[in-house]
């Protein structure tokens, strides 16, 4: 028993950025997921979505809501992260000036996801892509 959906996210399309997280949030509100959990999921998925748009060559977000919690998987098709440890450091970013001017790329994306999720794993290979998994317990 679960709510399960998959969304494609297009690289560089800032106009659609935030649609998926808004959709997940609407599900959570309808389901009456506790406010504290909902806010953490909202922050985590929004960061993940923005990351896909800004840094990746495109990808998808899978989410599943079960009685135990909210499971988010973010998979992209490249370019992959060379140094994950560095990428997980607050304030470190490879974002272009253009993106920074839009108020993004402050280097808080991955650290924010990790801080908000109950479980966070990341795997990445340059030239292949990045695979992030977040679990939020209800």
């Amino acid at each position: 028993m679960m709510i399960k959906e998959t969304y494609q996210v297009t690289a560089g399309d800032m106009t659609a950025a935030g649609d998926v997280s808004a959709r997940i949030k609407r599900h959570m509100k309808q389901l009456g997921i506790p406010a504290s959990v909902m806010r953490r999921v909202a922050v985590g998925t929004y960061e993940a979505e923005i990351n896909l748009v800004i840094h990746s060559d495109g990808g998808r977000i899978d989410f599943a809501i079960t009685p135990e919690g909210i499971d988010i998987r973010v998979v992209d098709v490249g370019p992959g992260i060379a140094d994950i440890e560095k990428a997980m450091t607050e304030g470190w970013s490879t974002a272009t000036n253009e993106v920074r001017n839009m108020g993004f790329g402050a280097g808080m994306g991955l650290p924010n996801m990790k801080r908000n999720a109950d479980e966070f794993t990341i795997a990445s290979e340059v030239g292949v892509g990045t695979d992030i998994h977040m679990l939020f317990r209800i």
């Binding site: 028993m1 679960m2 709510i3 935030g18 997280s21 808004a22 949030k25 599900h27 509100k29 309808q30 389901l31 009456g32 406010a35 504290s36 909902m38 806010r39 909202a42 922050v43 929004y46 809501i65 079960t66 009685p67 209800i138």
Partner: protein, 447 residues
């Protein structure tokens, strides 16, 4: 909780409703359905924002407020004019003649809500400094936004400042001052809000954050307008009341509250759709350093209230002129300001309103959500409103709860009709074939 049913100011005049989808599409909480060719308001969802009143071309949406005669139920009557009132009269750029007119209409005293707004501003600014609160702190002044947060953004309820509104503060202080000055019991004094806002009427009948409202009646600006207007050109005696300063009067304009509160990084947003988008972003933690948020349901804030007479932009321009003719110094006594932090505090928690949520255990809720998703996938996704529900998703919810069925969707109905027509044709063809065989004579010959 009281046993009296929840009172809504915003209602439907069924006679005038022609059952179009104009209001349906504009309601921010999806509280309207069109059934049997007329609108119905789902009362538990309605936040009395008045959007439907503004957009209805048939004037079938109305706001119920108290008639002026309500003041006759009290021995002593105090008018509490919202600062918006000062912006409503053409060629009047001062508040004095308007206040004098209120006294001529039959009020014994006038206490400007703007004066109470000064006291509330002071108390809020003090709380922002002395107490550690979740940021941004959210204003509690707009009753529509409070209800909106209860329904759609319950996670932000902790951010709402627990101070009563300037209207409530005005009623409380006005009655106390009047009772003390004239030596009469508070129970004999009625305080009446002169309102641009329908939701204030609802807030008085069903208060949030306090058990009982201090306000005894809410009179719409549009209802009292001509009565005031009649006296405006007459001369009047010098007013013997403590007057509000520019600080309080500016509360009628978007941003007036934030500037009065004086926090370092504040934001004011007007228009309920805009406010919803920004609350969404606050929930997503997109504002890093926002201290204070003022959300106003109406475009141009209270100046755009559904019970006003003047166009809100004209009113804004005129109020700026009134501000120029108003003193900058506040006159309220120091102890009122100092005590406000405790005396004007809300006494009850504001609870989340779970009306938009599914019911039952988490298992049952997920199961119902799955069902809604399934139904939704079968709908066209045009959100046209022709079915009487505002969106396809809302129709899916309504179907899952037994309030509607799939054939309320005109596209589904069309599909079904052409399906049936096809079946009819097939049936027709097959019966024609039988009769042809019957008539070809072969059977007769066989007999």
């Amino acid at each position: 909780m009281s046993d009296t049913p929840y009172f809504h100011s915003v209602r439907l005049d069924a006679e005038k409703c022609k059952g179009c989808t104009t209001c349906l599409k504009r309601c921010p909480t999806e509280a309207i359905r069109i059934r049997n060719n007329r609108a119905t308001i789902l009362h538990e969802r309605c936040i009395d924002c008045g959007e439907c009143i503004r957009v209805c071309t048939s004037h079938a949406k109305i706001a119920v407020t108290d008639p002026l005669e309500i003041i006759d139920g009290f021995k002593y009557k105090i008018a509490l004019p919202a600062p918006t009132l000062y912006s409503q009269f053409i060629h009047v750029h001062r508040s004095e003649p308007i206040i004098a007119s209120l006294l001529k209409i039959g009020f014994d005293d006038v206490f400007e809500v703007a004066r109470a707004a000064e006291v509330v501003s002071y108390a809020i600014s003090k709380l922002l400094i002395t107490e550690d609160r979740p940021k941004p702190v959210i204003s509690s002044a707009c009753p529509v936004i409070l209800r909106l947060i209860q329904i759609n953004f319950p996670s932000l309820l902790d951010n709402v400042i627990d101070m009563i509104s300037p209207m409530e503060a005005a009623a409380k202080i006005a009655k106390e001052e009047f009772a003390k000055k004239h030596g009469v019991p508070v129970g004999e004094i009625g305080a009446f809000f002169i309102s641009p806002c329908a939701a204030k009427m609802t807030a008085v009948k069903n208060p949030l954050g306090q058990e009982k409202s201090y306000v005894d009646g809410v009179i719409a600006i549009k209802d009292i307008y001509t009565r005031i207007e009649k006296h405006l050109k007459e001369g009047f005696d010098p007013l013997e009341i403590d007057r509000a300063s520019t600080v309080g009067i500016k509360w009628a304009i978007p941003g007036g509250e934030t500037s009065a509160v004086g926090s370092r990084n504040s934001l004011c947003v007007d228009g309920v759709e805009n406010v919803m988008r920004v609350l969404e972003q606050i929930e997503n933690a997109r504002f890093e350093r926002l201290d204070y948020f003022e959300g106003l349901a109406c475009t141009n804030g209270c100046l755009g209230g559904p019970l006003t007479v003047e166009n809100c932009f004209v009113a804004k321009n005129r109020l700026a002129s009134v501000v120029k003719h108003t003193a900058q110094r506040m006159v309220s006594k120091t102890e009122i300001f100092e005590d406000a932090v405790s005396t004007l505090r809300m006494t009850q928690e504001i609870e989340p309103n779970e009306v938009m949520q599914l019911r039952g255990s988490i298992f049952e809720r997920i199961k119902r959500a799955e069902e809604i998703e399934m139904i939704c996938k079968g709908l066209p996704g045009f959100d046209c409103g022709s079915c009487g529900s505002p969106t396809c998703r809302a129709l899916a919810w309504d179907i899952a709860h037994g309030y509607a069925n799939e054939l309320n969707c005109v596209f589904k109905l069309q599909e079904r009709i052409s399906q049936m027509a096809e079946e009819m044709v097939k049936l027709g063809e097959s019966t024609r074939f039988t009769s042809y065989r019957k008539d070809d004579g072969s059977k007769k010959e066989g007999l």
